[in-house]
């Protein structure tokens, strides 16, 4: 009888300890989220407490001694962004209503790492490889003296006509290479076209005026115009002030170019580059002075204004194909052909995609990322 009483007490004590252990144990689990290519993302889960408990989450990076509070965490399950390549641990601390610490738990050490390849961009990478392959393939083909046909583009054919007109009238040619800097592909294309136009002005001894909105574009423009004049055997005709800087500001530049148009009344105006809202101001002013205007831009929103106000407009791809067209270089022509093949592939993909989507099959869309 005496023994049974002792065993009962031990058993009750065991139950008490067990309940205490189950009811009060807080835990913080951290799992590195491998779906984020940039790393940095972990999924945190706090167990052993509920949403009504006051708690705070802290993190410690590497060998630092201080815990830093993560103030934005207020849910038991959260995604947290952590610095890559550094051992980190998280700590959860619970508080009572008087901000007194009740208990705390620390997670295991973990480390996040960025992937070496962002798999969510795989479709785009494949597209890049296919595009590059097609362009290089057709360049090689063109090098083997295979003739490549490009449809006639009225705007490009009119280049020589425009410069010729300016020569006959004894007036200058105005070339506006857009308002953006050389980090824009359209500005580079505009500068390339400037090279061809300046060759023509050198040949015909026509004045050339190139007001620019960026200093780097000014330097690049001067260089390309100088080379053009040298290649035409007219280095004496070249004047570095042909390409000159006006201002960076969009509408101040438009005002400056308008002023040049109204005072000097050039017979031919080329607007080739990246433009924004000032496009119509420039084009209308050019129209008012009776100049022949040839515009070209990849700025889709400005195309309607140029088409309305200019005599010829190079729309989108035609603008980027201008250098190939004007030079008739087989390598450049081959690259245009390669681009066209890519466009054909895109058209097929669009049709296939529309058919699949129309029948509710989403796998094709997911495949393309």
């Amino acid at each position: 009888m005496k023994n049974r009483g002792i065993w009962l007490k031990i058993f009750l004590l065991f139950i008490l300890i067990f309940n205490f252990a189950i009811g009060g144990e807080i835990n913080i689990n951290v799992e590195v989220d491998k779906s984020d290519a940039e790393g940095q993302l972990v999924n945190m889960l706090i167990t052993g407490i509920d949403n009504t408990t006051n708690f705070k989450v802290f993190k410690k990076l590497g060998d630092e001694s201080q815990w830093i509070e993560l103030k934005s965490i207020n849910k038991l399950s959260s995604k947290i962004y952590i610095k890559n390549d550094i051992l980190t641990s998280l700590k959860v601390v619970t508080y009572d209503d008087n901000e007194k610490i009740i208990e705390e738990a620390i997670s295991e050490l973990f480390i996040t790492k960025a992937q070496w390849f962002n798999t969510s961009r795989l479709a785009k990478f494949i597209f890049l490889l296919v595009t590059s392959f097609l362009i290089l393939f057709y360049i090689e083909k063109a090098k083997k003296k295979k003739e490549i046909y490009l449809r006639p583009i009225a705007g490009l054919k009119a280049f020589e006509e425009a410069v010729g007109r300016a020569t006959e009238m004894g007036k200058s040619v105005l070339f506006v290479p857009g308002i953006m800097d050389l980090d824009q592909v359209e500005t580079i294309s505009g500068i390339i076209i400037l090279g061809y136009v300046s060759k023509m002005t050198a040949r015909y001894e026509t004045d050339l005026n190139v007001p620019v909105a960026r200093s780097i574009v000014m330097e690049a423009g001067k260089e390309i115009v100088r080379e053009s004049y040298m290649s035409e055997g007219r280095p004496d005709q070249f004047n570095s002030d042909m390409v000159h800087y006006l201002t960076d500001d969009q509408f101040a530049y438009a005002a400056g170019v308008n002023g040049i148009m109204l005072r000097e009344k050039p017979a031919a105006v080329f607007m080739q580059g990246k433009f924004y809202a000032e496009s119509l101001i420039l084009a209308e002013t050019g129209n008012s002075i009776g100049a022949i205007q040839i515009a070209g831009t990849g700025s889709q929103a400005q195309l309607p204004f140029f088409i309305t106000a200019c005599d010829y407009t190079l729309i989108g791809e035609e603008f980027f194909a201008a250098s190939a067209y004007l030079s008739q270089d087989p390598k450049l022509l081959g690259s245009i052909k390669g681009q066209d093949m890519v466009k054909a592939a895109i058209m097929i993909i669009i049709v296939v995609g529309v058919v699949f989507e129309s029948f509710g099959a989403e796998f094709f869309k997911k495949l393309l990322g």
Binding site: L70, K71, S72, Y81, M180, Q250, F251, Y276, A277, S288, Q300, A301, Q302
Partner: protein
């Protein structure tokens, strides 16, 4: 008569300018009170903003300058009114240097004078940083690294609103007030699409064409398209009892309506003249 019709096609452009000036000026003095009916694009933007939970912070990017102020500033005022009425907290950055002045003016009018809010708690203006899209890419990783201080030279770690905002990933909604580059396109390309953050935008009328594919493909939640869009948003604020009266954009719509009508009339006149000339050429 036919000579008159032919001559109609070659009116000196200065008369056209004069007529446009008059028809724009008169409705501003004598308003017609034409009704503004919100369209779906603006309604989508309004609803997206209305649904932002109160605990989520909103980032507004002021990417416009004085030249486009008449079109975009009314949108900024309307958006701020909407957000502050709903109790949302706003973080402002500027990718254009002029945007800082526009942001200051908008905040002075709405946050200070209308709502009497506390700077640093209800809203903060982090100011302008050079770098265009590099700034967007930078804040996708770290706000403090790109904005160590705000526009008042207060350190970002001392601003209560910025507590817990380590990067753009801690932002619930982005709104871009854009007049060009950098603007809405860059926000979609470098922030909202990669990070899947809900974004809406207000742009100039010229840009709408360029941005519309992003709206129809779901990358942007609606769009406030130019001054008509701003007027529609103001009307939505009135319809939903958020603000009692229509703003500057709404008041300018009479002038824009008449101007558009006059332009259409000029086009018709130009075509009448064109047909008269063609008839004459066929005759001879």
């Amino acid at each position: 008569m036919s000579k008159f019709l032919e001559n109609l096609g070659s009116i000196d452009r200065r008369y056209i300018f004069l007529i446009i000036a008059i028809v724009v000026f008169l409705p501003l003095i004598f308003p017609l009170g034409l009704p503004v009916e919100p369209t779906n694009l603006t309604i989508d933007s309004f609803n997206a903003i209305d649904k932002i939970p109160k605990d989520e912070k909103v980032l507004i990017s002021f990417d416009y300058g004085p030249s486009t102020k008449p079109e975009i500033h009314p949108m900024a005022i309307a958006i701020l009114r909407h957000l502050f009425t709903n109790g949302n907290r706003v973080i402002i950055i500027c990718l254009w240097p002029d945007g800082l002045f526009m942001a200051r003016q908008a905040l002075q009018q709405v946050a200070v004078e209308e709502f009497d809010l506390t700077y640093g708690v209800d809203y903060v203006n982090l100011g302008y940083r050079p770098g265009n899209e590099a700034v967007i890419k930078g804040i996708t990783r770290s706000f403090p690294a790109n904005f160590a201080v705000d526009s008042r030279a207060i350190e970002i770690k001392e601003i209560p609103l910025m507590n817990g905002v380590q990067s753009l990933k801690d932002i619930g909604f982005i709104f871009s007030l854009s007049a060009g580059y950098p603007g809405s396109v860059e926000w979609v390309q470098y922030a909202s699409n990669p990070l899947k953050i809900k974004t809406s935008t207000g742009v100039t009328s010229i840009q709408v064409n360029e941005i519309l594919p992003y709206v129809t493909s779901g990358l942007l939640q609606g769009i406030i398209a130019g001054m008509p869009g701003a007027a529609e948003y103001e009307q939505l604020l009135v319809n939903n009892d958020i603000h009692p009266v229509i703003g500057k954009a709404g008041k300018s719509m009479d002038a824009q309506s008449i101007a558009h009508l006059v332009i259409v009339l000029f086009i018709v006149i130009g075509n009448i003249s064109y047909f008269a000339k063609r008839k004459k050429e066929k005759k001879y």
